[in-house]
């Protein structure tokens, strides 16, 4: 398994790294338990709604640091509307690709950027706190990468059923019992859903 030159460059000399004093918005995603955590800080021009400055911190591997670096490069100077369209695929492309087992790092970086933007919009009355629903779960499932091939589990049709009622999440997955990534995917699903206060319990059937 090898990283592209671009990834190594951004890993060794990351752009926009460091804590920002008095940011206009911030978000932290991931968890130390899963081995990666990213924080994104935003400085926003309130009149033009442009990202004047963006920095990040990363606890994680080389690709985690590199994706944090590239996502901040992509977001810098963009309007919020433009930045909201930045996806993990854009980050991955800008890095000349990632090994399949590392694609989840680009998802985490993009996710953290989007959370920071969303936090800004909510805090400044630009949008309402979205209601938690089955759609929220589906959107979160689209952020979970099957490390064997580097695609999300929804595109791969591995999610057979999503249920949600009274705080109980039920997810049926299509994944063979001998698959070496089973535990990893279950962990990722829990990590993505446990952060929502509406979620009380998560049941994953494989």
């Amino acid at each position: 398994m090898q990283y592209s030159e671009k990834v190594l460059e951004h890993f060794m000399h990351p752009h926009n790294v460091g804590k920002m004093e008095a940011p206009d918005a911030t978000a932290t995603e991931g968890s130390p338990a899963c081995g990666d955590q990213v924080t994104v800080y935003l400085k926003i021009d309130k009149d033009k709604l442009v990202i004047d400055d963006v920095t990040f911190l990363s606890y994680g591997c080389a690709s985690n640091i590199a994706t944090g670096s590239i996502i901040t490069d992509l977001a810098k100077g963009k309007t919020l509307e433009e930045a909201k369209k930045i996806t993990w695929r854009d980050a991955m492309e800008a890095l000349d690709g990632l090994p399949p087992v590392k694609v989840h790092c680009s998802v985490l970086a993009a996710d953290t950027l989007q959370s920071a933007i969303s936090n800004y919009e909510i805090a400044n009355g630009l949008k309402e706190i979205p209601n938690f629903s089955k759609d929220t779960i589906l959107e979160e499932m689209k952020k979970i990468i099957y490390p064997k091939v580097g695609e999300d589990i929804v595109s791969l049709k591995m999610v057979k059923y999503i249920g949600f009622s009274d705080g109980e999440v039920l997810i049926d997955l299509n994944i063979p019992s001998f698959d070496q990534w089973r535990d990893n995917i279950a962990e990722e699903i829990r990590e993505h859903l446990e952060k929502y206060p509406d979620v009380k319990n998560i049941q994953i059937n494989m």
């Binding site: 890993f11 060794m12 990351p14 790294v17 460091g18 804590k19 932290t28 130390p32 338990a33 899963c34 081995g35 990666d36 955590q37 990213v38 924080t39 911190l57 990363s58 606890y59 994680g60 591997c61 080389a62 985690n64 640091i65 087992v101 490390p147 070496q180 990534w181 535990d183 990893n184």
Partner: protein
């Protein structure tokens, strides 16, 4: 700097000694024959193999006919574990090993479980020692096999072999004792006559021998069911061909490693203590995993560097020509935290930030100085980027 110019991952594989390469040479060129009877070529190889067996046997205080060459440590473990199960495992038979064992033992245990045997996995304490009270309690009349990893492959814990044998003997019936000595052999004295181990696997390339060859010790009187069926060329357990040159190289590596094993052990221990002391003195927020002192293998140092992740550290060290290993999930096959560290009660951050240095007789104090100074720089750089460390640094201020 040149790739791998400072190599501290000797538990995976080690640099062949030049004398090992020289010893193999003639078996690749003029003496390329197989063992045989009534022909001088075959007889010469017979004699050579017997001599090589003597070398390995004497390093373990065993007799030559208790030594079988195999194509590596994993093969030896398979021949022994499955062989013991075939020979002594009755329906409902019971096996004991532990959650911190080497994958060779754990995957064989899982296979035998599938085949209908019952397996008890003992827990380990915070230093990686298996729980002996659990062992006593787990033994039942159907228990026929106990297996252990003499030196833990992750944290260097040396299991208390004599106490284990005593507990097995106190059960009042014969329990076979299989050991993986991949990390122990060539690093310390192992007197198999005294230890009461029945089968044991060793490997050549971890003691500066060639890759692809190992050996199985089979105590006299211990039966092994046949795992590998085929024509008998070199060994009756691993049938089929075995590379004679590799066996010659293995024997030379054993000779060199055991020429003065006490001195080698002392040299390795001195180096690893120097590495531990230096890291603890230079880098804040680090913690040694596994025991200290002589209950730890002399060549193993495993340390958790808090708030940063091991794959990033490993890659940065690699860019300086330094090869080490990490227990980070990011660098593992299944993206899971290291199972040994988790089993001894470490948290995810400690596991992801764990670095394993395994030394050899070729390593020097000067190399350790370089490694620690680079590691200190890398740690400071990665901590600057880490949200976990920034949060801690703020609190400390």
């Amino acid at each position: 700097m040149k790739q791998g110019s400072i190599y501290m991952d000797n538990c995976i594989t080690s640099k062949p000694d030049p004398q090992v390469l020289a010893a193999m040479q003639e078996y690749f060129t003029e003496k390329y024959w197989y063992p045989g009877s009534f022909v001088s070529t075959g007889e010469e190889i017979n004699t050579a193999i017997n001599r090589f067996k003597e070398v390995v046997a004497s390093s373990l205080n065993a007799s030559p006919d208790e030594i079988h060459f195999s194509s590596g440590g994993t093969m030896a473990n398979n021949i022994a574990i499955k062989g013991l199960a075939y020979a002594y495992g009755q329906p409902g038979g019971h096996i004991i090993c532990s959650v911190v064992d080497y994958p060779d033992l754990l995957t064989n245990a899982a296979y035998l479980e599938k085949m209908g045997f019952d397996v008890t996995y003992l827990s380990a304490d915070s230093e990686g020692f298996i729980n002996l009270d659990e062992l006593k309690a787990a033994i039942r009349p159907q228990t026929f096999l106990f297996m252990t990893t003499i030196v833990n492959h992750v944290i260097g814990t040396i299991q208390p072999l004599a106490e284990i044998r005593q507990i097995l003997d106190d059960s009042g019936h014969k329990i076979y004792f299989h050991a993986d000595a991949g990390q122990a052999y060539g690093k310390m004295h192992l007197d198999l006559d005294k230890l009461g181990i029945d089968t044991m696997a060793i490997s050549a390339h971890k003691i500066h021998g060639p890759q692809g060859i190992g050996a199985l010790y089979q105590r006299k009187g211990t039966k092994l069911g046949q795992l590998i069926h085929g024509v008998r060329r070199v060994d009756n357990l691993q049938t089929g061909g075995l590379n004679i040159a590799l066996i010659a190289g293995f024997a030379k590596a054993v000779e060199l490693s055991f020429a003065d094993i006490t001195a080698t052990e002392a040299q390795l221990r001195e180096l690893s203590n120097y590495l531990i002391d230096k890291m603890e003195a230079t880098i804040p927020h680090v913690e040694l995993n596994g025991p200290r002192g002589d209950r730890r293998a002399p060549h193993n140092v495993n340390i958790s560097i808090d708030y940063i992740e091991g794959e990033a550290i490993t890659m940065m060290l690699d860019m300086h020509g330094i090869t080490v290993a990490t227990g980070s999930a990011c660098a593992s096959q299944g993206l899971q935290a290291n199972y040994v560290l988790m089993a001894i009660g470490k948290n995810h951050v400690q596991s992801h930030g764990s670095m394993k240095f395994t030394l050899s007789r070729y390593n020097t104090r000067a190399e350790i100085d370089t490694v620690v100074s680079k590691l200190a720089e890398i740690t400071a750089e990665l901590r600057k980027r880490s949200p976990l460390y920034n949060a801690i640094a703020e609190k400390e201020q």
